[in-house]
Amino acid sequence: MGNTVSLTMDGKAIEASEDQTILEAARENGIYIPTLCQYAGTTNVGACRVCLVEVEKARSLVASCCMPVSSGMVIRTDTKAVRDAQRMIVEFLWASGDHNCLACESNGACELQDLVYWLGIEKPRFPIEPPGYAVEKTNTMISRDLNKCILCGRCVRACNEIQVNEVLDFARRGYRAKVGPAFDADYINSECYFCGECVDACPVGAITFAQARFSGRPWELKKTRTTCTYCGVGCQMDINTHNGKIVKVTGNRNYGLPNQGSLCVKGKFAIDFVQHPDRLKTPLIRKNGILTEATWDEAYDLIARNFKTIKETHGPDSIAGLASARCTNEENYLFQKFMRAAIGTNNVDHCARL
């Protein structure tokens, strides 16, 4: 924390740390400043310009997301000049794309939509002219409709600064600018790892979950916190369900460690198995050559009985244990303990070494 400085915001005397931005100080003091491009955990770039505020003695309006506070600053977040600028900027963004909320997956969870409503814009003064890009549907996980892209760059920073996958960047210049992988490739033909960070970062409906299309509106989804089953890291995530069915998985930055809301391709997208008809839901025991459903007690009994026989007949080293990366550390620890103490062998290994 830097030194504390005193300043005035919207007529209110407040204190802030000198390494804070105006936006951070405002949020801490319950003053709302809208943002679009600002995305925690990434560089503040000052691109969208909706977080403009008036600072006394400044030459022009100031982007609060990247302006550090300083002692004696007099800031106003709600003047006519600020609102007029915000309104025009939001009109620009609205008119620049195909922001058709009726069929948009992000309807109800769209930051642009929220801003339009908050600023009370009936309709933009400029003709609505989406760029006319084809919607990218070449993979089963992420759907990209760049006609809805507002070029805030959150996905670019999420990709480069959070996941450090360095797949996304801007291409072309000015109003032709476009976000994407190198050489304008589709995700599937690029170096993309499908971590889905960009999907979570997108404030509008430009990057969405392909599997979730038409499977539930944001307000219909029930989010359930869970731990990812794919590996031992224990990533926290929200399972989004609608009518008892899993629709998608989203990261939740509020859960903090270990993953701070980030996920990998498996945790994010490999959810089909949960509701797959082939999924095993009970143990099977081969009886007379045929796999037959059994209870867990039956299964454990059988395993214990057979291990005991093998150990007595051939000695403990005739048994080896192979643990899984999908188990937690604690489970793996227990497993080797079991092998050593209960079975009596050091023949323990792990799938990650294969």
């Binding site: 022009s60 007029d84 600028a85 900027i89 210049r173």
Partner: protein, 1054 residues
């Protein structure tokens, strides 16, 4: 070469100076008089800047070397390729020293003759010397040409003098002395102070004090700092930096080393756009030479200071000229700006403290350190010190690079140094600061060009691009052009710039295409303010400037585009069929009648003329033909002779029969004044079925056409025929009747439903000098009218001007009066207080007067009329010199004390302007008249006065104007009166009867061969000076067809 030490520099300087003594006048060296060992030789300097390379200077150089070789002159004559000389319009350029003679537009084919004339015979090759565009005077010596003489060279001090690829020539011109001083004698803080004292401000555009920037970076903690030179010059029309890099690259390197010393940097970059290959080539040579000589690298000049630099080539994005984007680009990332703070002085390139200075800024540094900050601050204005280099381009004679002290008047740069606007066109505005700047219009030619004044006027200094625009440029189109540039160059990072420039361009494009809507101007203004206020970097913050500044100064042009779909400059092609038709105040279908001449269908052509002009044979003679000024053909050779072609139709075809118009309406309309405006309105209203009565004070109708324009220009029968056509429609013209005297104004008010006031401007303005009321002193129009009323008396000698006549004034009336006086046998002198190019009279009229022996004295103004016993004996005048520019963009005449002289004359004609005689309008009429004695129109109308039912037009509204302007006003008023009547009656608007179909031939020539206008045959000699025969004889059929074939048919869309 070994690594140099400080004392070595001095030796190189002295030895090289001796070798260069022919071309460079050096200050005498201490203890050594400027002795040259090459007294007999010559140095021949060929410009090797990019501009001259493009126009072929390398070929010239090759031919020259070969020719000198052939003639055995190679030893005596040294050929040197220099950087840009600055006078780019005239390249390839060659200067011969020691005499300093400059040759221009040299081609390899000229070389044998040039060598023969200059170097063998010792003379000069006249045809390649400079010729002053306005006067034609030849000026052989470079330093005597105003373009060079009026400049003050500091940054460009070595241009055209040294070979930029030879470091010793730079050293000879005091090069690296400032650096040696800084490294050996000065502490970093002293260097910063010297630069602060100089008042130098960033020459890249923003004008931030250079010393302050250095001070911040010097104060930033850190071992690793950077000095960066911004050579990413990207403004359209700007080429100062390129020229400095090409002509004097070491000056930039020297500045960078000094800057490095000041802030404690050891590494530098020159960010130069890849489109400057010659600049990069010469920079590479300079860097290599400096490194080899120990002027860059480790232990510079043995002082222990290390500094190295490299060139980073930019890929051509305009935004990379912005400092943070430039640094991001050097880091290898996409060149996009970063928010500030942190400022580069704290965290710049690779987050290290960095300074970024423009090429021109850095090129000043060596001299500032050597000569001191006070020396630099010795020129310029209070807040803008030193000099500034401008790239002067566009519609200006002397396109090139000029360096002048800050605060030099804009007009001086454009007119005195730049030689003014070519082809006699009028200056409209100068765009300063490229696409981030704004325009400065004609009324501000006196503005001193410094950071503050320029900003107040809505432009910015920018990097110094100065684009001159003449009257043929459209303000809206210009704004559209620059917005198109900014939209393309916006990096796309921030919303206001990315989307805002796109939307502004969209609106501007709509306006130029006739799709503008009410409210667009206000929306543009609102957008401009927000985009300026909200954008992330300088690009977006300045992109709306051209829009704001054109709206500020040319709002009416925007309104005309939106409301009338009219582009006065005839640029916005979507608004019209052809520029000539669009420029004509009554929009005559010029291409159509010209095409009909070509196919010999003169009767059809005549009918086309009469569609919107009741006086085509008058206009064929005396129109000021605005149409010709915008003729596209004029861009290749000369405009079409549209006026003469129009006359040819009326000369060559039978007049179409006029049938009386049926009176279908009950309303009665009075027209006051039977000039072109009144008669046009009368004709239009008669055609629409109204009963029209015209009241005329003088004995015959015609107004100025009859009473002011002499018959040698407009034969009376021609005029009478066209007026009779108006009568034939049923218009009643009552002459010899002055309203207010012969018929009371109240009666007009009572008896007529609507009144059109078109009394013209028949009263001369007074000179306001002693003796003006003497007999023998006439007003211009009064004299012309008197002659026309009493022609017999004048011709019989009953009335006389005497032997010698002075005419005061420079307008068409002055010329008419002078030429008439010549025909009365007088010796005539015109006295005009400005210069010839400032005369409002038509150029062809001035020439005709000169041909007829009229003597014109320029820059003189009358003081009093001399008299003896009540008889005029002369006119006392004072000579004038030219001062500042006035609102009209012309230089103001200023009296020269003690220059008075008296011209002996018998009479004086004062033709300095006319006003209307408004005595017939009662004071309580509710019709407002302004100070200039003109009718004031209602705010919402183009013809209604401040009183309902009373309309006005012609000279009585506008002040003295043209025939075609008066005709247009007549059309306007007639339409407005008719509309008002129908609206009051609840009728539908007037629908003109379907136009008679005339097929217009679509012949287009595949190729255009350059050919000038066909000249109008004229009467010459005594027959002309002594008679009132028409001077212009008219085209023959062959001449007319030949001229008609020159038409490019801009009206045809394929």
């Amino acid at each position: 070469m070994a690594k140099l030490r400080i004392e070595d520099l001095k030796n190189i300087r002295e030895s090289t100076r001796a070798a260069m003594s022919l071309r460079v006048e050096m200050p005498p060296l201490k203890g050594k008089p400027g002795v040259s060992d090459r007294a007999s030789g010559k140095d021949l300097l060929i410009c090797g800047g990019t501009g001259c390379h493009a126009s072929g200077s390398l070929g010239v150089k090759k031919a020259l070397i070969a020719e000198l070789e052939k003639r055995g002159l190679s030893d005596a004559i040294t050929v040197v390729e220099t950087g840009c000389n600055g006078f780019c319009a005239m390249g390839p350029i060659m200067v011969v020293y020691p005499e300093g003679v400059i040759y221009m537009l040299v081609s390899p084919a000229d070389i044998p003759e040039l060598v023969e004339e200059h170097f063998v015979k010792g003379g000069m090759l006249q045809r390649l010397l400079y010729r002053e565009p306005s006067t034609g005077v030849v000026i052989p010596i470079m330093q005597e040409i105003p373009f060079f003489a009026l400049q003050e060279l500091r940054v460009l001090r070595n241009r055209g003098l040294i070979d930029p690829e030879k470091i010793e020539e730079y050293i000879a011109r005091d090069g690296y002395r400032g650096m040696a001083k800084a490294l050996s004698e000065m502490a970093p803080a002293q260097i910063v102070k010297e630069v602060l004292d100089s008042g130098l401000r960033g020459r890249g555009g923003a004008g931030f004090p250079t010393g302050l920037k250095w001070q911040f970076a010097a104060a930033s903690p850190g071992d690793v700092k950077y000095v960066i030179c911004n050579a990413d010059e990207g403004d359209p029309g700007a080429f100062m930096d390129r020229s400095v890099l090409e002509a004097d690259p070491h000056a930039v390197l020297e500045g960078m080393v000094i800057a490095a010393m000041a802030i404690g940097a050891h590494q530098g970059y020159i960010y130069c756009r890849a489109e400057y290959p010659l600049a990069i080539h010469r920079l590479n040579i300079a860097i290599a030479q400096s490194k080899e000589n120990g002027l860059l690298g480790k232990n510079i000049l043995g002082t222990g200071f290390d500094f190295d630099l490299e060139i980073y080539q930019g890929a051509g994005a305009f935004v990379c000229g912005e400092e943070t984007a430039l640094m991001t680009s050097i880091e290898g990332k996409r060149g996009m700006p970063r928010p500030r703070p942190p400022f580069p002085a704290v965290a710049g390139l690779w987050q290290k403290p960095s300074i970024l200075n423009n090429v021109e800024t850095l090129a000043n540094i060596g001299q500032i350190i050597l000569r001191g900050g006070a020396w630099y601050a010795g020129v310029g204005t209070e807040k803008s010190k030193g000099t500034k280099v401008f790239a002067l381009t566009g519609d200006v004679n002397n396109v090139g690079l000029v360096e002048v002290p800050m605060g030099t008047k804009l007009g001086a740069i454009i007119h005195d140094i730049g030689g003014g606007v070519p082809h006699g066109k009028k200056f409209k505005a100068a765009q300063l600061g490229g696409p981030s700047g704004g325009c400065i219009p004609i009324q501000h030619l006196n503005a001193p060009v410094d950071y503050e004044t320029v900003a107040e006027l809505g432009a910015i200094m920018g990097s110094g691009g100065l684009i001159v625009m003449n009257e043929e440029k459209c303000a809206v189109d210009m704004a559209r052009f620059f917005m198109d540039f900014c939209r393309d160059e916006s990096c796309g990072k921030c919303t206001p710039c990315r989307e805002g420039t796109k939307r502004m361009l969209q609106i501007l494009t709509n306006i130029t295409e006739g799709k503008g809507r009410e409210g667009d101007i206000e929306l543009l203004e609102e957008m401009a303010v927000i985009i300026k206020n909200a954008s992330l970097c300088g690009l977006g913050q300045t992109a709306p400037n051209p829009v704001l500044s054109t709206i500020r100064y040319f709002r009416k042009e925007y309104e005309d585009h939106i409301r009338k779909h009219h582009c006065a400059a005839a640029v916005c092609a979507a608004l019209f069929k052809s520029p000539c038709q669009h420029t004509c105040p009554v929009e005559m279908d010029i291409p159509a009648y010209i095409a009909l001449i070509r196919s010999g269908r003169l009767e059809d052509a005549y009918r086309v003329l009469l569609r919107n002009n009741p006086f085509p044979s008058v206009c064929g003679r005396v129109c000021d033909h605005k149409c010709q000024s915008n003729c596209r053909r004029g861009k290749t050779d000369e405009p079409l002779a549209i006026k003469f072609l129009k006359r040819f139709i009326t000369d060559g075809a039978a007049r179409p029969e006029i049938t009386r118009a049926l009176v279908t309406r009950k309303e009665k309309i009075a027209v006051i004044g039977a000039g072109p405006s009144g008669l046009t309105a009368a004709r239009d209203l008669a055609v629409r079925g109204y009963t029209v009565t015209v009241f005329e004070e003088l004995p015959e109708p015609g107004g100025m056409l009859r009473w002011a324009i002499p018959s040698y220009r407009l034969p009376r029968d021609i005029l009478t025929d066209e007026i009779n056509d108006v009568r034939a429609l049923g218009v009643n013209i009552i002459c010899d009747t002055r309203v207010g005297m012969d018929i009371p104004f109240a009666r007009i008010e009572q008896e007529y439903d609507y009144v059109f006031l078109a009394p013209g401007a028949h009263k001369s303005q007074l000179m306001d000098i002693e003796g003006e009321d003497l007999p023998g002193v006439y007003g211009g129009v009064e004299f012309l009218r008197d002659f026309n009323l009493h022609e017999k008396d004048w011709l019989a000698g009953k009335k006389s001007l005497g032997a010698k006549v002075a005419v005061v004034g420079g307008g068409n009336s002055a010329i008419d009066a002078a030429r008439l006086a010549v025909r009365l046998g007088a010796d005539v002198t015109i006295l005009y207080r400005r210069q010839r190019q400032d005369m409002p009279a038509a150029e062809e009229e001035i020439t005709a007067a000169e041909e007829e022996g009229v003597n014109i004295q320029y820059l003189v103004a009358p003081l009093k009329i001399a008299q003896e016993n009540g008889t005029v004996t002369g006119i006392t005048c004072r000579r004038m010199k030219l001062g500042d520019f006035d609102q009209s963009g012309r230089k103001r005449p200023i009296p020269i004390e003690g220059s008075d002289f008296t011209l002996g004359v018998n009479s004086v004609i004062a033709a300095i302007g006319q006003t209307s005689d408004m005595g017939f309008i009662p004071r309580d009429s509710g019709i407002t008249i302004n100070k200039r004695d003109c009718f004031v129109l209602a705010a919402d109308s183009l013809s209604r006065t401040t009183r309902a039912r009373f309309y006005a037009g012609g000279d009585a509204v506008t002040g003295p104007d043209t025939v075609i302007g008066a005709i247009a006003a007549g059309h306007q008023a007639a339409g407005d009166i008719d509309e008002a009547i129908r609206e009051a009656n609840g009728e539908k608007p007037y629908e003109p009867p379907p136009e008679e179909k005339i097929d217009i031939p679509m012949t287009i020539d595949e190729e255009t061969v350059e050919s000038p206008q066909v000249r109008m045959p004229e009467l010459h000699g005594a027959d002309r000076k002594k008679s009132f025969k028409e001077v212009e004889l008219g085209f023959t059929r062959e001449e007319a067809v030949q001229e008609a074939m020159r038409c490019l048919r801009c009206d045809i869309e394929i």
